[in-house]
C-alpha cells in the first residue's frame, strides 16, 4: 500500500554531481483506492510539465494519501519537517485539504491546490501562501445554474451527496439558477443505488435534473437514470463527466451538458500541445484533473523563472502574477488567490470509440468566486 516514489525528473543528473535541487515540491495525492484516478491524473499532468520544462532544479516527492485525512496530515508533517519541501501540492479532496493546508501555509510553505477549493479557504480562511489553480468548489455549479437559465429550465430537480462539497454544490447552483425547484435531495456519500431518487424525479414533474455526484456515484446514477426511461435533460459539473469516467458510463452519458473550466478542445497553443504530449506520453486522453496538474506545475515554473524560492515575498509576487501559458487560455488570480476564468458548457460526444466532451458555449465569463470579499490577507 505504501507507495513511495521519488521522482526527480531531469534533476537526476544534478543530484549525481552533488548539486541540490533548488525547489523541492511535496505532492500528496490519492494514488490508491476508489479515488485514485483523479490523483494519478493530477500527478501525470504535473510531472509532464516538470519534464517538459527540462529544468534540473525541481525535485518532486510524491506520496499516496489513500484519501484519508490523517495520512495526509502525517505525510505533510514528514515532508515539511524531514524532507524540507518548499512547496506542497496534489490534494484532491476538500476534507483532506482542510486538514493539511491551514497548518502548512502557516509554516512558510506555499500550497498550490491542483483540485480542492473549499469555501473556507477562499473566504475568511484565505492565506497569502495558499494558491488555488483549479477553481473554488462552487464555481462549476454556479456555471451549471447559469446554463440552466440559458437553456430555459424552469423547474429543476437537484441532488448531491450529504457532505460539505455537496451542500456547496446545491448552494452554488441555486445562486445562479432563477427557476423553481421541483425537488431537492441529499443522498448518502458513496451511495451506489439511485433507484429511490430516480423514482422521485419521475414523479416530481421536473423539466430538468442537476446533479453533483463525483466519481463512481455519478457513473451509477447516469447508468441507472438512462435505464429508467426518465428522459429529462441533465446538467452537472464536469466531475461526473471527466475523461476517466466517461468510458465507464458509455452511451448513457451521450448528449449530457456539463460545465468545466477546461476542455480538450479549448483553442490555444498551450492546450493543443498539452493534449498531444499527454496522449503521447501516457497513451490516454487527459482529463480536467490532468490539465489542473499541468497548469499547477507551469505556474510554479513561471515563478521560478522570476524569483528565488529563498525570497518568499518575491516568489509570492511571481506566483500572483500567474505569468504562464495556461491550458485554459486566459488565467489570472483574484485577490484571494483563486482563479478568475471562463467556465464553459460541454456536451458529451463520441469520437470514434472514445467518449469525450466538446465545448458548446460559455456559461460564465471571467468568473470569480463568491467568497473573495471575505478574504483579508
Amino acid at each position: 500500500m505504501k507507495l513511495k516514489s521519488l521522482m526527480i525528473g531531469a534533476a537526476l543528473g544534478a543530484l549525481a554531481t552533488g548539486a541540490l535541487a533548488e525547489v523541492k515540491v511535496g505532492m500528496i495525492t490519492t494514488l490508491s483506492g476508489g479515488g485514485a484516478g483523479l490523483g494519478i491524473d493530477v500527478r501525470d499532468g504535473f510531472m509532464l510539465a516538470v519534464n517538459q520544462s527540462g529544468r534540473d532544479d525541481i525535485e518532486v516527492v510524491i506520496e499516496d494519501d489513500q484519501q484519508k485525512p490523517d495520512i495526509a496530515v502525517q505525510l505533510a508533517d514528514k515532508m515539511i519537517q524531514s524532507e524540507n519541501v518548499n512547496v506542497l501540492t496534489g490534494i484532491i479532496w476538500s476534507n483532506l485539504a482542510m486538514a493539511v493546508v491551514p497548518s502548512a501555509v502557516n509554516q512558510d510553505i506555499f500550497y498550490l491546490s491542483p483540485n480542492a477549493g473549499p469555501s473556507a479557504l477562499a473566504g475568511q480562511g484565505c492565506h497569502k501562501n495558499y494558491f488555488n489553480v483549479a477553481w473554488q468548489n462552487d464555481n462549476l455549479h454556479e456555471a451549471a445554474g447559469a446554463y440552466a437559465n440559458d437553456a430555459g429550465f424552469k423547474n429543476s430537480f437537484i441532488l448531491a451527496p450529504n457532505y460539505p462539497a455537496g451542500q456547496d454544490a446545491l448552494t452554488g447552483y441555486k445562486r445562479f439558477y432563477e427557476g423553481d425547484l421541483a425537488g431537492e435531495l441529499y443522498t448518502q456519500l458513496g451511495q451506489t443505488d439511485y433507484a429511490a431518487e430516480i423514482a422521485q424525479i419521475r414523479a416530481s414533474g421536473a423539466d430538468s435534473v442537476f446533479f453533483f455526484l463525483p466519481g463512481g456515484m455519478g457513473i451509477s446514477f447516469l447508468k441507472q437514470y438512462a435505464d429508467s426511461g426518465v428522459d429529462l435533460p441533465v446538467v452537472g459539473p464536469a466531475f461526473s463527466f471527466d475523461q476517466g469516467i466517461l468510458q465507464a458510463v458509455g452511451d448513457a452519458a451521450l448528449g449530457v451538458k456539463n460545465t468545466s473550466q477546461w476542455s480538450k478542445d479549448i483553442d490555444n497553443e498551450a492546450n493543443k500541445a498539452f493534449v498531444e504530449t499527454f496522449q503521447a506520453e501516457y497513451g490516454r486522453l487527459p482529463s480536467l484533473y490532468a490539465s489542473q496538474g499541468f497548469d499547477t506545475a507551469n505556474l510554479l515554473i513561471s515563478a521560478m523563472d522570476k524569483a528565488d524560492i529563498g525570497d518568499m515575498d518575491a516568489f509570492r509576487e511571481a506566483l500572483v502574477a500567474a505569468d504562464f501559458a495556461s491550458t485554459r487560455g486566459d488565467f489570472k488570480f483574484g485577490p484571494n488567490h483563486h482563479p478568475i476564468q471562463d467556465i464553459y458548457v460541454r456536451e458529451v460526444i463520441k469520437e470514434g470509440d472514445v467518449y469525450t466532451n466538446k465545448i458548446i458555449g460559455t456559461a460564465l465569463e471571467d468568473h470569480a468566486d463568491a467568497y473573495a470579499a471575505d478574504c483579508k490577507m
Binding site: 448518502q188 429508467s228 465507464a248
Partner: protein, 306 residues
C-alpha cells in the same frame, strides 16, 4: 405521494434486498460453519464485477460475463481458502480480521495493477435494458426486475440445497458441531473449501449483476460488505433464513427511509432543512433497525441462542 410511486419504491427496496442477500448468504454461511469473519468478502464481489466486465467486454455477451464472474469469484474463493483462510480457523477473531483485511488490500491493489485505476464499463444487455410497464401504469426498469427474479431463484435454490441435499446436511451438521462431523469421517477441509467457494460465487454473482447498473471500480465491495454485516447481525449469524429476512428488511428500510423521512420532516419543517435532516436520519435508519432488533433479540431474528 402517489401509490404508484410508493409501489415503485417498494420494488426498489426489494431489489436492493435480494442483492444484499446474495452478499450476506455467503458471509453468514462462512461464519456459521467455520466460525470465520471474512472481511475480504467484499473483494470477491469486486472480483465478480471485474470479471464480468472483462469477459463481457471481450466477448460482447453479458451471460458469458456472468459465467465468468461466477467462475472467477469461486476460483478466487477456493484459492484463498486453501492458501490463507485454512490457517486461520483455529486462531481468534482478531487474527482473522487482520488477515482478511490484508486480503482486501492485496485484492484491491492487485485489481488496480491488472485493470488500472479507472472504472470499467459493464452495461445492461440490450434484451434487459429500458423500462417495462407494470400494472397500474408503473414504469420499472426491466433489469431491476430481472435482479429480483434471479435473487429469489438463487435464494430458493440455496434453501433447497441446504434442506434437501447431502451437502446441505453436512453444512448444517458443520454449523452444529464442527469436531463431530470431522470425527464421523467427513472430509472437513474439502467441505470448507466448497462452502467458501459457494459463498464467493454468490458474492461474485451479486457484483456482476450490480456492476451493470453501477460503477465497476476498485473498492466497490467495501460499502456493500458493511451492509452485509448489518444484515447477518439482524438475521442472526449463521442463519440463511435470517440472512434472507434481514436482507429484505435492510433493503426496504434503507430505500423507504430515504424516500419517506424527508417527506415526513417536510410536514413541519421548511423543505431545505427537511431534506437535510431527513436524509441524515435515513442514512442511520438501518443501524437504528439493527440496534432495535438486538435489544429485543440479542442473537438476531433467527440466531441460535448461545
Amino acid at each position: 405521494m402517489s401509490p404508484v410511486l410508493f409501489i415503485e419504491q417498494v420494488l426498489n427496496g426489494l431489489q436492493f434486498g435480494v442483492m444484499l442477500f446474495l452478499m450476506s448468504a455467503g458471509l453468514t454461511l462462512i461464519f456459521g460453519v467455520m466460525g470465520l469473519i471474512n472481511l475480504a468478502h467484499g473483494s470477491l464481489y469486486m472480483i465478480g464485477a471485474f470479471a464480468a466486465a472483462a469477459v463481457a467486454g471481450a466477448t460482447g455477451s453479458f451471460l458469458l460475463g456472468l459465467v465468468g464472474a461466477l467462475t472467477a469469484a469461486a476460483a478466487a474463493g477456493a484459492i484463498v481458502e486453501m492458501t490463507v483462510i485454512r490457517r486461520l480457523y483455529a486462531r481468534d477473531h482478531l487474527d482473522q480480521v487482520l488477515a482478511t483485511f490484508a486480503l482486501i488490500l492485496i485484492f484491491s491493489e492487485g485489481t488496480r495493477w491488472l485493470f488500472g485505476s479507472f472504472p470499467l464499463f459493464l452495461d445492461v444487455p440490450d434484451w434487459l435494458s429500458g423500462p417495462v410497464t407494470l400494472p397500474l401504469g408503473i414504469q420499472y426498469p426491466l433489469y431491476r426486475l430481472a435482479i429480483i427474479v434471479v435473487g429469489l431463484a438463487v435464494a430458493a435454490g440455496l434453501f433447497a440445497l441446504i434442506a434437501k441435499t447431502r451437502i446441505g446436511i453436512r453444512i448444517r451438521a458443520g454449523e452444529a458441531d464442527r469436531e463431530m462431523i470431522g470425527a464421523l469421517g467427513v472430509d472437513i477441509s474439502k467441505l470448507y473449501t466448497l462452502i467458501f467457494a459457494l459463498g464467493a460465487a454468490l458474492a461474485g454473482l451479486a457484483g456482476a449483476m450490480v456492476g451493470a447498473i453501477q460503477s465497476v471500480q476498485v473498492g466497490m465491495g467495501e460499502p456493500v460488505l458493511i451492509l452485509a454485516f448489518v444484515v447477518i447481525v439482524i438475521g442472526g449469524i449463521g442463519s440463511i433464513r435470517g440472512a434472507f429476512v434481514g436482507a429484505l428488511l435492510v433493503g426496504l428500510t434503507d430505500t423507504l427511509g430515504r424516500f419517506l423521512l424527508p417527506i415526513a420532516f417536510g410536514a413541519f419543517m421548511d423543505p431545505s432543512a427537511a431534506t437535510s435532516v431527513g436524509s441524515a436520519l435515513a442514512s442511520m435508519a438501518i443501524y437504528i433497525l439493527m440496534a432495535a432488533v438486538l435489544v429485543v433479540r440479542p442473537t438476531g431474528l433467527f440466531g441460535a441462542a448461545t
